[in-house]
């Protein structure tokens, strides 16, 4: 087992590109090696060791690596990018692109995540105890597939366009969600416990379940009657009919 503890040395005011904070990059490395990993502070090339105090206990493979982050990381981007195994526990807030492209392992965040968390995620689990910004589990601009696998859970709320271009996996939002959740999705499952508006536009495939109120429905869904899911009865819609979509929308 390898445990890496990371704390900001001082307040970070300019955004940091920290894609090297990942169990895959840390596994088996000494404190010194990890400290010398590259990071960008704005457009200035620096190292993780310059920005953070880093302590390492033990050695292990990625799957046996736990990264504990404490403090304010609200300007630190791309934490856990592409990770395939292991665990990242963050006590605080983070900037954009948390856990993007991750394929395995687990990230837990006690605070809030800025936009694009879980972008193009392929597997693993991302738990956000606070709230998420825009484009949670979405795709990169222009790509046809966003999230393809894995699971994202948000205890708080999420802003607009969550699950944009989603092709697989699962997103659960316990609170409210902004507009156009699951826009252009082509698979996967989205569950919104709270309220939302205009879900599922351009939906080709996939399932969206909404337990709260839907302020406004897009006029591109066809009401198919009612259906029970896990003992709860919903109005079942299919669409988006404009794109010949076979997506399913369950609304109370």
């Amino acid at each position: 087992m390898q445990t890496v503890t990371i704390k900001p040395k001082k307040e970070i005011k300019i955004s940091v590109e920290a894609e090297n904070i990942s169990p895959d990059k840390f596994a088996g490395k000494s404190e010194k090696d990890i400290q010398s990993l590259e990071a960008y502070l704005g457009n200035h090339k620096t190292t993780l060791g310059e920005l953070f105090s880093i302590k390492v206990e033990g050695r292990g493979a990625a799957a046996d690596t736990k990264i504990v982050m404490e403090g304010n990381f609200s300007r630190v981007k791309r934490i856990g990018e592409g990770m395939s195994a292991g665990l990242i526990m963050i006590k605080g807030n983070v900037d954009m692109h948390l856990g993007t492209k991750m394929s395995g392992g687990k990230i837990t965040l006690s605070g809030n995540a800025d936009s694009w968390a879980g972008r193009e995620m392929k597997g693993g689990e991302l738990i956000i105890e606070g709230s998420a910004g825009y484009y949670l589990g979405a795709g990169y601009r222009g790509e046809t597939c966003g999230m393809r696998g894995g699971k994202i859970t948000v205890m708080g709320s999420a802003l607009d366009f969550l699950g944009e271009h989603m092709c697989g996996g699962e997103i659960i939002v316990k609170g409210n969600a902004g507009i156009l959740a699951g826009i252009s999705n082509n698979g996967g499952k989205i569950v919104i416990e709270g309220n939302t508006s205009r879900p599922g536009s351009e939906m080709a495939k996939g399932t969206i379940i909404i337990n709260g109120a839907v302020a406004e429905m897009m006029p591109v869904f066809k009401l198919e009657g009612t259906e029970a899911v896990d003992g709860v009865t919903y109005k079942k819609y299919t669409g988006d009919v404009i794109v010949g979509g076979k997506g399913v929308l369950y609304v109370k």
Binding site: Y140, R141, G142, E143, T144
Partner: protein, 570 residues
């Protein structure tokens, strides 16, 4: 400045040199017979030496290229290279940024590239981009096939006026030649329609694609333009379209060339050689096109080779782009250029497992391998329609190795063997034939063979050296080496300056932009301009004064003079 390239195995088809050890001398940017002892020396050490590559059909600059970039931020994720002391940053694969266009062509040993389509109205954008593309010489063909003035003058059968319009349009756009895309179709697309063959009548203009093609061919020869009519056929991309293509090729017999070159260049044949009636029974009919080419003169083509993977389709053929976007369920951008043409951009992916894609892949190769004379088929991918130009080395390897083709065919659906003739074709092209398809042939097609595509005295000092020894390699077996050598030149020399060494950029001079200044009798221009002024008054959204590309847009112009000469019409 003098440069001597010693001990090269030189392939210079125009001058009849095929692998002979020949020294190449360059002085002040031009090939000369001899240089002094002060010349710097490159020892080619028996390696392959060819003239700098010349691409007669690629989409490297202008409005639709940039629409492709805007539509495809995801394309920018590949090909990223930070700036260096010498080079600007690079991005993109199918729609690279302007800098990457120049560097990547130069890295392949190419020194001259022509953008194949600019609307006159959008020409300023084309030149703004050409001005930022480093190293290579370039030029742009101007669209005339669906322009209102063209169709008016064709209907009036007034070839003098049409010639005056073409000459003026080339000046207005600082264009190099006459491009025609789906003639009549661009206008019909304004009404959501298309032409379905050579004899459909374009509403409001009362002309047919046949009339437009023949008239522009005649006018092209009246003006004695360096390049011939450059044609993207009607019905492109439709199963069964090879019949339209053959009927179009027949039209070339009606006009005699004014120069030692073709009267008609039919471009990207892979998209025009389709048999069958739909996408299920689709088959390649490139053999029929090749057969036609083998029995006719004055017609040239290019492959438009499909490369499996990501591509971006971009063309003035607006109706086809709409059809394509529906086929691939993809992104679609639609454009209308007022009185001139339509356009569209659609990202596509060519899949090995899709038989229609595999058959299109085969038809470019079939065309090149079944046409006996390599001067009649240029090597292109219609970048980025069939695939990005960086794949030319792949195409060269496929043409030189039947073994490589058989290996590829194994990865394709079994039904491939019924839909194409490719599996039974054993021909393997040699270095001389490749040099024709990528250098001498393309220069001849463009009408630039005097200074481009060869290594005789007087030619531009553009040379490529590749890291293979022609007498020590069997391209049929060692196709991997062939591909890697042609993808990254050992040396590229542009105007006597070493711009690439070992695949790395070593200098970034600015290339020239070729355009054609064609003279016509002043009274013809006067009569024609009356019509043009009316069009601007009544229809164009911009003023005539804002329409012309000014000299300031071409900081390194190369003007080619042309003008009215009598044309024989049979």
């Amino acid at each position: 400045m003098e440069l001597l390239i010693k001990n090269g195995a030189v392939f210079d088809p125009k001058n009849g040199i095929a692998g002979d050890k020949t020294d190449i001398s360059i002085k002040d940017g031009k090939i000369v017979d001899k240089v002094s002892t002060k010349a710097s020396v490159i020892d080619a050490g028996g390696r392959l030496v060819m003239p700098g590559g010349v691409d007669a059909h690629s989409h490297i600059a202008g409005a639709k290229v940039n629409v492709g970039r805007i539509m495809r931020p995801e394309d920018t994720r590949s090909g990223i290279k930070p700036r260096t002391k010498l080079t600007r940053p690079c991005t993109g694969y199918t729609v690279p940024n302007v800098y990457a266009m120049g560097y990547r062509y130069a890295q392949m040993g190419y020194t001259t590239v022509f953008e194949a389509a600019q609307a006159i109205m959008k020409a300023r954008h084309t030149h703004e981009e050409l001005e930022e593309i480093p190293i290579i010489d370039k030029g742009a063909l101007t669209l005339f096939g669906s322009n209102w003035p063209t169709m008016d003058f064709v209907r009036e059968k007034d070839m003098d006026k049409l010639a005056a319009y073409v000459a003026w349009g080339l000046l207005a756009s600082r264009g190099f030649g006459v491009k025609v895309v789906n003639p009549g179709g661009g206008e019909m697309w304004g009404y959501g329609k298309n032409v379905s063959g050579l004899d459909d009548v374009v509403p409001n203009f009362d002309v047919t694609p046949r009339d437009i093609i023949i008239s522009l061919m005649k006018v092209n020869e009246m003006l004695g333009l360096p390049h011939s009519l450059h044609l993207h056929c009607n019905n492109l991309g439709k199963p069964g379209n090879y019949r339209t293509t053959l009927a179009t090729l027949e039209l070339a017999k009606q006009v005699k060339p004014s120069k030692d070159r073709q009267v008609m260049h039919v471009t990207h044949i892979a998209f025009n050689a389709m048999g069958g009636t739909n996408w299920m029974d689709f088959e390649s009919k490139a053999d029929e096109i090749a057969n036609f080419l083998n029995n006719s003169e004055n017609i040239t083509t290019d492959m438009g080779q499909v490369i499996f993977g990501s591509a971006t389709s971009m063309t003035a053929d607006g109706p086809w782009q709409y059809t394509l976007s529906k086929l691939v369920h993809g992104k679609w951008s639609n454009g209308d250029v007022e009185l001139e043409d339509a356009s569209g951009v659609v990202p596509v992916t060519y899949y090995r497992q899709a038989i229609s894609h595999a058959a299109m892949w085969a038809s470019g190769l079939e065309l090149a391998l079944l046409t006996k004379d390599p001067y009649k088929v240029l090597l292109t991918t219609d970048h980025p329609n069939g695939g990005p130009f960086v794949n030319y080395s792949e195409v060269i390897a496929l043409l030189m190795s039947s073994k490589k083709r058989q290996e590829e065919i194994k990865t394709l659906p079994p039904v491939f063997n019924e839909r194409t003739k490719l599996p039974g074709i054993n021909r393997e092209l040699d270095f001389n034939e490749i040099a024709i398809m990528t250098r001498a042939g393309s220069s001849k097609v463009l009408g630039l063979l005097e200074t481009k595509g060869h290594l005789g005295a007087g030619a531009d000092g553009d040379v490529a050296i590749y890291d293979i020894k022609p007498d020590q390699i069997d391209p049929s077996v060692e196709h991997v080496k062939i591909k890697s050598a042609f993808s990254s030149a050992a040396y590229t020399i542009k105007g006597g300056e070493v711009v690439v060494k070992d695949g790395q950029i070593t200098a970034t001079p600015m290339g020239r932009t070729f355009w054609v200044d064609a003279s016509v009798p002043g009274e013809h221009t006067e009569v024609m301009m009356k019509d043009i002024r009316n069009k601007f008054k009544n229809y164009y959204s911009i003023g005539l004064a804002n329409y012309m590309v000014q000299d300031a847009y071409l900081t390194h112009p190369k003007v080619v003079k042309a003008g009215v000469v009598p044309v024989e019409v049979s």
